[in-house]
Every structure is written in structure tokens, then in C-alpha cells.
Symmetry: C2
Subunit: 391 residues, 2 copies
């Protein structure tokens, strides 16, 4: 008789977005005349830039002709794309990477979920709270022990290691989902030094790096020594609106070794065995992001989201509400006014102003009393929502 | 200090295709005037059909417009595609499936590799020898015990269970890679009865089902009771030339339960946590395979490959060489003549006839003394290669 992985029975169902959807649907049914503004989703709303669309159309055409058809590509991604990503790191972040330290995949979520295949199950996994639920659930599925480090107002939801910090594998996300807070160089330096000293592994989620416009680190490899202790996950999802197009990349430096084993070689082995690469058409689309006009256009799209975030922070600041994020990030993380709980504030905003956000408690117990608003909306809707809240 | 998954150190590097490439490159360098014919690769060579190309271009265009842009889709695939796959099962195989028993993914290799996440590590895994190496390696990575059932001439490389057969999870592949042999209904019936009786799980790889033209089962669900003991993996790779376009699907019937746990629900949980769905553009391309002219055109492409296989079997039969496959499959599995080993025959074919195949020993110890030839070539090349061998 076959036996299932019993850890699945211990997973909690997440009802966060289901519950939100239900409440919104009920309200809409009862108030058909009211216009709802949704500021809860973490998904982009602007279309792909023309460079990407044209590149994908061209590549699709190539696949239809015998002379230019492509079958299986390299599991780790085509050289033409990996080299462009390496160039992006060099020119935009002054980080030197070899193309074979970059692995193209169908998205950061897959890689974040799969990367810990390379680690033994007795590692202690440390995740910040509040947190993107995938870090926790993908480890619970393997029966791993999880510890939390707490984000709060006093550390601006950017916890740092101290003498008492223990654990083996640390998830960091900057700009952070859900809080929008961003590590400074000095803060990341503390994490890298800690990891080097304790031989810990940092799994760094840089999915929102393209939103950084101030002098803050966009890659953990901007910090010296990080190549010996950190893996970085990134994606075209938020950089270029690829949430429905699916393309990401993971950096596994060749300097990253433990017990004489190279994590770069292990990940290559994992990917060649359990993955078959990303669609050629998609990879050509991703490549087009790195053309001069492509880079300009994706920047313009992000400018639009950042403009929304600015409108939001202005209102929240005027109302005297504590917040973080909203700069260098599409997320604004606010304290619920009048000591309301996250769900109380959700109900209040929905019923009073017809604005939908995400209760912070859905991201962990330290999110209770906080609320996430996102800038992935039109400018008109953002202005209208803030006008309502200002009242 | 973090600890790696020590099972990776136990993996053997596979040098099969590297060694083949080296030998071929050396020969080509020494004999620049000789024309090589490659019959070794398991990759399609014909372009995507026009229906697929047009659908992908149209979908790429939609992604570039604000009104029709799509962000995150359902992790398990869009309803429009899952319903078409269900209809394909019903009309082509008389198998009734609900759309929510079908999970769209980036390919069968990913799903075959990831599905055993749902199983505990103390299951005994049984794989046929010779075998597609992914079955073995993906389990070795988890430190699982693997046992083999042997294919040979007396069972036509289609081993069946008997009273002595033990194990928990059984991989079956039909039409088989590498041998091209296909299970009959009676044979699959024996496997299903065995699995039901012993509460074993069958992982059925149907990647080559579209090559079946005789009255043989294309899905394990054609066998009564299979929904209670089998998961089926399939793909557009060989059906519609998607090896570089990346789209597959896995069927996890709702009737498949063990210890009160539904594998369908577990797989949904795994995919929603560690996967973010397939590109919208790709899914629209896959959908176009199921239009009336799409089905006709992919059939024509496969007809071409099957015609090549027929040319190959004719030559091999005339030479009096034992073989299997070559009908209902793109693979021909032949016994090396004159008691040559697989690599001796490889060298002989390369040096004498400039024909490149795959040594059977690369697929397991029971492949020694056998050789795989593939029909993924042009008709002209296939005829030319057989002419040379006939001499």
C-alpha cells in the first residue's frame, strides 16, 4: 500500500482571498449602485509593452516554420536571455554575474517553492512575520521546523539578526510583500555578515526590485560576500507585467558552496531532471524587455504604479496614519485607525467607502492591526479611493 | 549551519547524450565530407501547426491591450483549456473526466518529477528497466528505495505484475520510451487489478498516446477501476510538437483516495502553493490543437513520423533483426546484430553508415545489446539512412 506525505494534512487552508471575495460579492449584491474600488490584489493591471508583444508574435511565427522551429531548449534557459539578465545586473546594479549563474524559470513562485529540494529536511527555516505565505507552506509540506522573526513598527517591519537569532535558512524579501518596506545597504550588510558567520543560507526574494528608485539595494549581491551565502529569486512578473506570461529567474552563484557541494551544480541537476525550460516564445518576450525602448517602457509602467503609491501615501500621511512602504514599492502597509483589527478596518473601508484592501492579519499574526493597499490600479481609481478615504 | 540534501551526492551523472555528442563531433571533424543522419534524438522536428501559431499571436496581442490583458491565471489552468482536454478524452478515448480532474502544467517532465511530493519517502518505487531516466533520478533525489521490473524480449519489454511483485508506486509508460512497445488492454487490466488489490499507485506516462493508431489503450482510464489507482501524465510535446512551447497536463481523478486523503485535493494544494500556472499565450496555443482543423493537422504531422517508422521497420524486418515498437510509436527498439553491445553497434553505425542512434544501455542494464532509433526525422533522411543500413 502506498503512503502519502502526511505533512499535507497539517497544512492550513488559506481562506484570506476567498473570504475577501465573499464579503465583496455580498456587498456588491446588496449595493448594486455603489462603485467598488479594489486595492487588494497583488497583480499587475497594465498590459505588456509593445516590444514584448511583437517579440512573442515573431517567435510564434518562427515556431510555425520548419527552418526556424525550436524543440527542447536548455532547461536553464536560452543563452540569449541569460546573457541579457547578466547585463541587466551589471549595468543597473553593478553586480557581476556569469550567465551560468542565472537559471530562467516559469516564475519566482516555482523556484522559491522548489529550491529547498536541495536542502535536508532537518534545517530550521526562519521566515519573517508578516510574510508571503509560500515561504511557510512550501516548507510545511516537507515537515520542516519553521521559526519566525517579527516585523513591527519599531523595526519598520524589517527585522534584523541579533545575538539570539538562530536557524539555518532565512527568507528575506525586499522590497517587501506585504509591507513595501525596503532594506538599506547597512541592514542587508548585517544579514550577509550574520549568514557568513553562522554559515546560514539566505533566500532573497527580489521580485519587486524594479520599483526601487532611491539609493537602496536592488540585489543582495550589491553587498560584498553575498555570493557565498545567498540565492536570489527574481521575475518579470512585476518588472514587466508577466504575471500571466510566466517567466522568472534565480541566481545561484558559483561561490555558494557548503560541505564541498556546489548549490549551482545541484540546482542545475534538479532543473535538468525535473524541469524542461520555459517556452521559447516567452523567453523571446522576456529578452525584449532588455532592449533600450523595452527598458524605457517597463520603467514608464512602473512609474505609473509608483505615482499611484505617492497619491496614496499623501492621503495617509495627511490623515496622520502610521505607514511604511508606498515608496520604492507598489504596496502601502498602514496601521488600522482607532485600534481597529485588520478585519474590522476591512469591513469599515468596504461599507463606508467601497474600497477593498487586504487585512494584514492574513499575512501572519504580526500583521494584525495593519492593512495592505496596492498601487496596481488606474490613477483615476486611486485618486477616487483616496478622495473617499479623506472625507 | 545549513545542511544540504545528501541524496544529491548519490546521483550519477548521466553522460549518455554528452558521450554521443562527443563521438559524433569527433567523427564529423575527422570526416567533413560525410553526411550524418541523426536518428538518436527524442525531440520533434516538425513545426507547430498554423492554428497554434495564429492562436498564440492573437493571445500575445490581447496581452498588449489594456482591455484584454490577463494577469495571474488559475494555477491549475484556464477552464477553456481544461474543458477541451476533457472533451478530447471523451471523444477520442471514451473516457469521462471532469475538468477539475485535469491540471495544466508546463510539461509532463515537471509533473512526473513533482507529483511524488505528495507521497511519503518510505514508499518503495518500482520502475521498469529500460526506462526514461527521470523516473529514477527524481526519486533518488528524495532518497527513496527503487526496485526494478525487467523488460526483455520474452515479455516484449512490457513487464507485468505477478505473485512475487512487491512495491508501492509503479511507473508505467505506454507507448514506451525508449522501446516503443505498447500495452494491450488485457495487459493494462492486469496492472490495474494488481494495483487495486495491493493498494498500489500507478503513475502512467501517456506522452506518446497520439501515436496509437491501432486498437490499443491510449489512456489508462480506458480500463475500469483505473480512476481509483492511477494518475496519468500527458503533454502537447509529442501530440502537437510543443517540446519548445511547454504545455502538459496531469489527470488526478477525484476517486483516487488513500487513508481518507484525496490526491486530487493534495495536488491542487501543491500546485497552488508551488506553481503559478502556464502562460496564457501558451494555453491559447494548446486550445487551438483541439479545433477540428487543429486535430486534423497534428494528426497529419504524426502520420509523417509514423510513415518514417514504417520505413524503418520494413528495413529492420528484411534484415531479420529482432525489434519492438515502430508501430503506434516514434521509437524503434532493435536488437544489436552479431551480439554487439549497444556502444559497439553505435560505433559501427556511425563509422560505417554515418547513422546516429541511441545505445539501449543508456536506459538501464536491460537495454544492453539493444538500440533505439527514432522516427523524428524527414522522410528523405529516413529513407537514406535505411538505404545505407540495408547494404
Amino acid at each position: 500500500m502506498y503512503k502519502i506525505n502526511g505533512n499535507y494534512a497539517n497544512l492550513k487552508e488559506s481562506y484570506l482571498f476567498t473570504d475577501i471575495a465573499k464579503k465583496v460579492a455580498n456587498y456588491a449584491a446588496a449595493n448594486p449602485d455603489k462603485k467598488l474600488i479594489k486595492m487588494g490584489i497583488g497583480d499587475v493591471t497594465q498590459p505588456l509593452i509593445p516590444e514584448v508583444v511583437e517579440a512573442m508574435k515573431k517567435a510564434a511565427g518562427e515556431m510555425g516554420s520548419k527552418e526556424t522551429f525550436r524543440g527542447y531548449g536548455p532547461e536553464q534557459g536560452y543563452g540569449f536571455l541569460r546573457e541579457k539578465i547578466a547585463e541587466y545586473y551589471l549595468t543597473q546594479m553593478n553586480v557581476q554575474l556569469d550567465a551560468d549563474e542565472i537559471f530562467v524559470s516559469d516564475g519566482a513562485k516555482s523556484d522559491i517553492g522548489n529550491f529547498t529540494d536541495l536542502l535536508s529536511d532537518d534545517n530550521v527555516i526562519v521566515v519573517p512575520d508578516p510574510v508571503y505565505p509560500v515561504y511557510v507552506d512550501s516548507n510545511l509540506m516537507l515537515g520542516r521546523r519553521i521559526e519566525y522573526i517579527y516585523g513591527n513598527e519599531s523595526n519598520n517591519f524589517l527585522p534584523l539578526p541579533d545575538e539570539k537569532t538562530t536557524g539555518d535558512v532565512f527568507y528575506l524579501c525586499s522590497p517587501n510583500n506585504p509591507t513595501g518596506a525596503v532594506f538599506s545597504r547597512e541592514m542587508l550588510r548585517k544579514w550577509v555578515d550574520f549568514a557568513l558567520k553562522t554559515k546560514s543560507l539566505i533566500l532573497f526574494d527580489a521580485a519587486y526590485e524594479a520599483f526601487i528608485r532611491e539609493d537602496l539595494p536592488r540585489s543582495i549581491y550589491e553587498i560584498e560576500g553575498a555570493k557565498e551565502c545567498a540565492v536570489e529569486f527574481c521575475s518579470f512578473s512585476k518588472t514587466a507585467g508577466f504575471t500571466g506570461t510566466r517567466c522568472g529567474y534565480t541566481v545561484v552563484p558559483k561561490a555558494l558552496k557548503i560541505d564541498g557541494m556546489s548549490l549551482n551544480k545541484m540546482w542545475l541537476r534538479r532543473q535538468t531532471t525535473k524541469f524542461n525550460g520555459v517556452s521559447y516564445v516567452t523567453q523571446r518576450g522576456a529578452e525584449a524587455v532588455f532592449t533600450p525602448s523595452g527598458l524605457l517602457n517597463v520603467r514608464k509602467t512602473i512609474d505609473g504604479y509608483l505615482e499611484n503609491a505617492k497619491i496614496m501615501t499623501k492621503t495617509v500621511r495627511e490623515k496622520g496614519i502610521w505607514f511604511t512602504g508606498g515608496v520604492n514599492s507598489p504596496y502601502l502597509w498602514i496601521q488600522c485607525p482607532d485600534k481597529m483589527s485588520s478585519w474590522e478596518y476591512f469591513d469599515f473601508l468596504l461599507n463606508t467607502y467601497q474600497v477593498v484592501g487586504t487585512p494584514g492579519s492574513g499575512f501572519g499574526k504580526n500583521g494584525e492591526g495593519y492593512f495592505r493597499l496596492t498601487a496596481f490600479n488606474t490613477k483615476e481609481n486611486t485618486i477616487e479611493a483616496m478622495k473617499r478615504i479623506s472625507k
